[in-house]
Symmetry: C2
Subunit: 259 residues, 2 copies
Amino acid sequence: MGTVAKALSLLRLFNHTRPEIGLSDMTRLSGMNKATVYRLMGELQAQGFVEQTVSDRAYRLGSEVLRLAALREAAVPVLSVSRGVLEELCRETGETAHMSLVRGTQLNTLSHAYSPRHATRVMMEDAEMLSFHGTASGLAILGFAAPDFVDTVLAPPLARHTEATETDPAAIRAALDSVRITGIAESVGRFEADVHSNAAPIFDAERRPMGALAVAAPVSRVTPGHRSEIRQALHTRAMELTQRIGGFCPAEYPQDLAV
Amino acid sequence: MGTVAKALSLLRLFNHTRPEIGLSDMTRLSGMNKATVYRLMGELQAQGFVEQTVSDRAYRLGSEVLRLAALREAAVPVLSVSRGVLEELCRETGETAHMSLVRGTQLNTLSHAYSPRHATRVMMEDAEMLSFHGTASGLAILGFAAPDFVDTVLAPPLARHTEATETDPAAIRAALDSVRITGIAESVGRFEADVHSNAAPIFDAERRPMGALAVAAPVSRVTPGHRSEIRQALHTRAMELTQRIGGFCPAEYPQDLAV
DNA sequence: CTTGTTCGGTTTATTATTTGAACCCACGGT
DNA sequence: ACCGTGGGTTCAAATAATAAACCGAACAAG
């Protein structure tokens, strides 16, 4: 691993439950030498990627990431466009809608919207990591991804998130066939118990699946009619999002939804 | 310069007019060796900070920066909170409002809002770099910054953005006194011709100025009454923003606005 | 008041990585 | 066929990164 990779991997130690990390913690979490971490963090700090609190000298993400994110959005406005689509999607379905993007072999939620219609909702956080095999979003992407990408992602062992999580690669591959036919993937309690999710892929300019749009509802609320309504809306909105970010659906993607 | 700094400085070559950069361009722009740039970009790509287009293999910012920005917002919700404040501010004043944050000795716009009230407006882009000596935002920050920071930033030569730009450090320092008294800085055509800007600093948890809130209007529209209205609104909203992001005004910051 | 622990930060010789110049191949224009 | 330009690669020489031990300060327990 090169020096740059090491430095950037330190940034990946931050998450929602750990927004600030001290030098010693960072050393332990990364497994690197303390002097190494110290110097790397110093460089990251000089570049504005992290900043140090005055009180306890703990590190947290710096504002340079905001600037870069704004620039990225100016170049490829996925986030900003998705927000409008997500709002429309959750208005149509009355459920929580979210969008996630592929990054290497990871899948991250990046934007979400809640519907005020029901008192109970599926709650989300941005920048959370999803599994491919356990979530509707992941399956939607796998259904239209390159074979060797599927191989990589479905290499055992697959994490068992809930009682219902399918961890047999062969069974998952079989399920991808129906994803390819309908264009929509489904996960009932396989990532979080009591959450019924549907998802549709979104494609980039090279017709590759770059992420997914999803609707998550409490299992108890999803009747056959509601399910059909959700999947219909997802199909329409995912194609809209793909088009609005300058992407194209691949030829094999079903243009009309046979739910 | 360490390797990490070099790699991250490559990211700074991207901007609104140059959202994608090929290997050769990047080599020229950075002044580094081609092999070096190639390897560094490879590492950045592996970490998701940049991605390569399939067609012409040009690099652009990757989606990892979006994830990190989302995490940073979860830790320190400056952007998301500022959006609401900016909207209110531009509703109250009828002019363009924007927020910028300090990053080392740089100042970057990060969020803005337009008012629909007038057909002519000052237009903005996020992630743009501002000068400290030429903008109201910069002066607002300098008025409450540490002396050595002011020294660093006001070291000649200072760029002359327009005919009206003040480039004499002594004159700028003198102007900071009135910023300290009123809590509001002003720039009439000193960064962009025909733009009249007012700005107020926002403070972090350590009572240091971390950025500024500003209102920019066409010079022709700013009557004494309108100016006073703008400065009043700015003062109120900047203090609100400071408080809502968990910051505190320093003792010397004027709590009541004597416009 | 001592002792032990943890923290952020620093030092050093040793070691591994980065670097630069030259080179390759493919492509597009002339 | 020729030239310029693009992305990508090679390898010895130069440089930067590393690990382990160490420092002083802060805090807690005995």
